[in-house]
């Protein structure tokens, strides 16, 4: 599940809970789901790893990826 979908779901749950039309059981269920989604979102942000790479081509036309050296 993508970060964006999770975030949208979380927004929807908050809206639903604020509308106060759900039963208590359903509200608690939704709340728990919301907490999980929030955790997932926060974790998703941490999963990304900083990497800057550069593509080059070998003589036989194959793509090669190596770290990018910043010119000073």
């Amino acid at each position: 599940m993508g970060f964006e979908e999770n975030l949208k779901k979380l927004e929807k749950i908050v809206d639903e809970l604020h509308a106060e039309k759900l039963s208590l059981e359903k509200s608690i269920e939704k709340f728990e789901e919301g907490v999980k989604l929030g955790d997932l979102c926060v974790k998703a942000l941490d999963v990304m790893k900083k990497k800057i790479e550069v593509v080059s081509k070998t003589k036989d036309g194959k793509l090669k990826i190596k770290p990018f050296e910043k010119e000073e």
Partner: protein, 379 residues
Amino acid sequence: MLVEPKVRTVSELTQDIKLVLECAFEEVVVEGEISNLRKPSSGHNYFSLKDSTAQIKCVLFKGDAAKIKFSFADGMQVVCHGRVGVYERDGQYQLYVARMEPKGQGALQLAFMQLKEKLAQEGFFDESHKRPLPFLPKVIGVITSPTGAVIRDILHVLERRFHDAHVVIYPVRVQGDEASGEIVQAIEDMNNLKEVEVLILARGGGSLEDLWCFNEENVARAIYKSDIPVISAIGHETDFTIADFVADRRAPTPSAAAEIVLPSRQELEEKIQHLMVFLKRSLEDIVPQNIQRIDDLREAMYHALDSLVANSRVRLEGLINELNALSPLAVLKRGYSITTRFADNRVLQSACELKKGDRVKTKLSEGTFVSEIEEIASR
């Protein structure tokens, strides 16, 4: 004495004319209208330039033709740069065109307009073809020059917005004749790389000529064909290239492209935090509300029970009064008494039930007494 005129061969004469003409018209600029244009499969172009009273045959060789960015046709007013030469076989002088420009406007402007119109007709700029950008792309592909301010600016902004971004740079030339081919190749190669979810095609500012590769048809087609959405970031805010029109999103500058491609991590974190606060608050609202409802119900229940009890009590008292009124003891109060046979406590209704010597018990309103039968007065 008459000198015999020198007799020359046709070839010799032609050679002489050629020499004279080609020396005199080594470099000419001539304007006129294109007519009778032919483009045989050789790739060379043949046409005439004419005005109201004259015309000259023109040749435009394949190599020179390739450098002309706009397309030309009969009836178009053009300015040709070239030299006059003689085609010996046909005894014909003609203009060898090296460069051609449309009259009244720059060649590149015209080429730009022509390509824009052509691609518009093919639907290249349609909104319906624009792909949405991913919200949080796993890998961001950047096609640009590996040196200079552009890549530095992009990396800098990405770093600021989301320090963990994963970027793959595809170095290309962004100026000159080779540039468009390299850009096309880069777009195709990037489409074959795993996890690249969005492309930024970037170049810093420059003249129309400098930016020209982004107005080339092959680049436009490569962007259109790309499965990965493309953000164009070419030149300054005021520069518009064909690539900008085809791209799924145009960024006014390379830095702006970096802003578009990634959300700010800080903003995202704040957003999530806000949502979590809202979430908790909503439950905090809901639970007390439910508790209050329970309390209200309980109170109502007690209230109902209380009145039920009170009603019952009233009814009970009524019943007790009624019962009292009906009680035989009440009769005694009026002076009557109840007599029972002592032996079996049977209530006596007839004197026949008794005989002399029996003992009876008489209950009065207050107290009882026992007596012995002396005589049965009547039956």
